[in-house]
């Protein structure tokens, strides 16, 4: 781990990404301390004001403090992406492990179901799931999570299958070690590298998906501020109030950029094929 951090430090780009993410996490955790106002407090007299001393980033169409909303938005956006990716990754891990390890009929069934979900376009799938479950923050996270499951399942399954080819596993099975033990001990650590990379990339994907859902009116419920919701609302006002789009878009771009840079570097670091 220490060595890993060291090599991450050596990779400047990855390190920038890591620091960026760390910053967003800190802002999210300390949101109540950092934000001067409640993110949903409406100041009737201050609608669409430009950045000033009282409202650092200006106010939005309902007279709410954009700075506070961006700060709390970090909380909401991170919560959405972490939970969604958590659902997708854990779901995919379990299904992929089962599918890849046991193969046969159960693999057939799982993979066919995954194919069905894979064949649905992402946004439409999320849209349908939210429509079925009813819109709420939790359901948005679940929907995005479900969208991610097939990707993770495929990834884990193929990794498990390639690990399973190894002779030491064959011998472990022959000796009579319990399959679960084998999975925990041998398979899981071996698939961690591609898995972690996929997770970082999915995290940024989740933020974007939430933004897209916000555009369709199915994102986070008002008055909660997610960056996607803010961005979508600002579209109507960006001409005379450019600050309404500037700050949330900067937040979203920087975060996604950092996730991607980190993901890329992790890929370079963890992929044995790219090691120099």
């Amino acid at each position: 781990m220490k060595a890993f951090m060291q090599s991450l430090k050596n990779d400047k780009v990855g390190f920038i990404g890591f620091i960026g993410i760390l910053l967003v996490v800190i802002v999210a955790i300390l949101a109540p301390v950092i934000a001067p106002h409640s993110p949903s407090e409406i100041f009737n007299e201050h609608i669409l004001q430009g950045p000033n001393a009282q409202f650092l980033f200006g106010t939005d169409e309902l007279g709410r403090d954009i700075f506070s909303r961006v700060v709390f938005g970090a909380q909401v956006s991170l919560q959405v992406s972490l939970t969604a990716v958590g659902i997708g990754a854990i779901g995919g891990l379990v299904l992929g492990l089962i599918s890849g390890y046991f193969q046969g009929k159960i693999d057939q069934i799982i993979m066919r179901v995954m194919d069905v979900f894979f064949a649905f376009p992402d946004i439409l799938l999320a849209l349908t799931i939210i429509a079925v479950l009813g819109p709420s923050l939790t359901n948005t996270m679940i929907a995005i999570g479900i969208v991610f499951i097939p990707v993770f399942t495929r990834l884990v399954r193929s990794a498990v299958m390639s690990v399973k080819e190894n002779e030491y596993l064959t011998s472990a099975v022959a000796v009579g070690v319990h399959p679960l033990k084998i999975i925990a001990k041998h398979v899981t650590p071996n698939i961690m590298a591609p898995f972690i990379v996929q997770v970082t990339l999915a995290l940024s994907g989740a933020i974007l998906t939430e933004a897209a859902l916000s555009f369709l009116g199915l994102g986070v419920q008002p008055p909660d501020p997610s960056w996607g919701v803010m961005l979508n609302a600002s579209r109507a006002y960006m001409e005379f109030a450019p600050w309404t789009i500037l700050f949330p878009v900067t937040a979203i771009v920087m975060t996604i950029l950092c996730f991607n840079l980190l993901g890329d570097s992790l890929r370079d670091l963890l992929d044995p094929k790219l090691k120099s």
């Binding site: 194919d115 064949a119 649905f120 001409e239």
Partner: protein, 304 residues
């Protein structure tokens, strides 16, 4: 592969639509609804039948090429889907081409100059495209172009074969927005594939032959890297096909995405079912095509 997946998709979407609250009769009538007219309308659409019967009727029609009529507009579903698919498909292909034009050279450059300043800047620039949500980028583009250059894309879609220039004018901006958002992933894949390929022994062999770097990179490294790149392109074309919803709406393009979105909002079951099934069909087909392309590019793979 094709049949069971499509069958699964048809069942999932059929059931999902009926689980979602609301139906087409209520959305059509709105505040003008009376219980009698609602009941009558549902009867007219066959929504009073048991679910399995509705499904059998629908899927039976689909199997004979009859996707039914839109419950809302009375338009035949299949011809509408095909018309719109032509647009969405063209948009997707243009977006893909734009992203390749951006991403592949950048990916190669970043791969060759790994860990240099060029590498860093190329990575950051191409990732910027992915980082901005499509709809924000699209709106900003529209606004800036109309304010600063008094330009807006021509209104009223025209097919490519009717007026290619006007058609491309209409599609360029949306394709650009989608292309930039896709470029990051393609760039990333190109870069890492090139990195991997350049490490291979045969690249040294080719250099030892006295080949120019141009031959090394384009004839050999890129061709080999194309295989993983193709995977991601295949996936992305599939994703794009369904991901045009937002772009189509912003740029007023009469594509499949809008059809599905309006269909879902209006609970136009026949339209949504037909369109989703069709999109899934195309998605599977594209994956098949990508598999075929693999075997064409890579003599080691034989496709059965």
């Amino acid at each position: 592969m094709l049949i069971p997946v499509l069958f699964g998709v048809s069942i999932v979407i059929f059931i999902a639509l009926r689980v979602i609250p609301g139906d087409v009769a209520a959305t059509i009538l709105g505040t003008d609804a009376t219980p009698e007219t609602l009941a009558q309308l549902r009867k007219n659409f066959g929504l009073d039948l048991p679910i399995y019967e509705q499904y059998l009727q629908w899927i039976g029609g689909v199997l004979t090429g009859d996707f039914g009529e839109s419950m809302r507009t009375g338009k035949e579903v299949l011809p509408d889907i095909l018309d719109r698919f032509a647009i969405t498909f063209e948009l997707t292909i243009l977006a893909a081409i734009i992203s390749w034009i951006i991403a592949i050279p950048m990916g190669i450059l970043a791969g060759i100059k790994r860990n240099s300043k060029t590498d860093f800047s190329v990575r950051v620039i191409s990732l910027l495209g992915v980082s901005v949500p499509n709809f924000a980028l699209a709106t900003v583009l529209i606004l800036v172009l109309s304010l600063s250059f008094s330009y807006s894309p021509p209104v009223g879609y025209v097919g490519f074969w009717e007026d290619p220039i006007r058609n491309l004018q209409i599609l360029f901006l949306p394709a650009l927005v989608m292309g930039t958002s896709m470029a990051g992933a393609v760039m990333r894949m190109t870069r890492s594939s090139i990195l991997e390929i350049l490490r291979q022994d045969f690249i040294r062999t080719i250099r030892a032959k006295g080949a120019k770097e141009k031959i090394v990179i384009f004839d050999h490294a890129l061709k080999n890297a194309m295989i993983p790149i193709l995977t991601i392109i295949g996936l992305q074309v599939g994703v794009l096909l369904g991901g045009t919803v937002i772009i189509e709406q912003i740029f007023s393009l009469p594509g499949l995405g809008q059809l599905v979105l309006t269909g879902i909002n209006q609970r136009d079951f026949t339209v949504v079912q037909g369109a989703v099934l069709f999109i899934a069909f195309v998605f599977v087909l594209i994956n098949l095509l990508v598999d075929l392309l693999y075997s064409y590019l890579d003599p080691r793979i034989t496709y059965k």
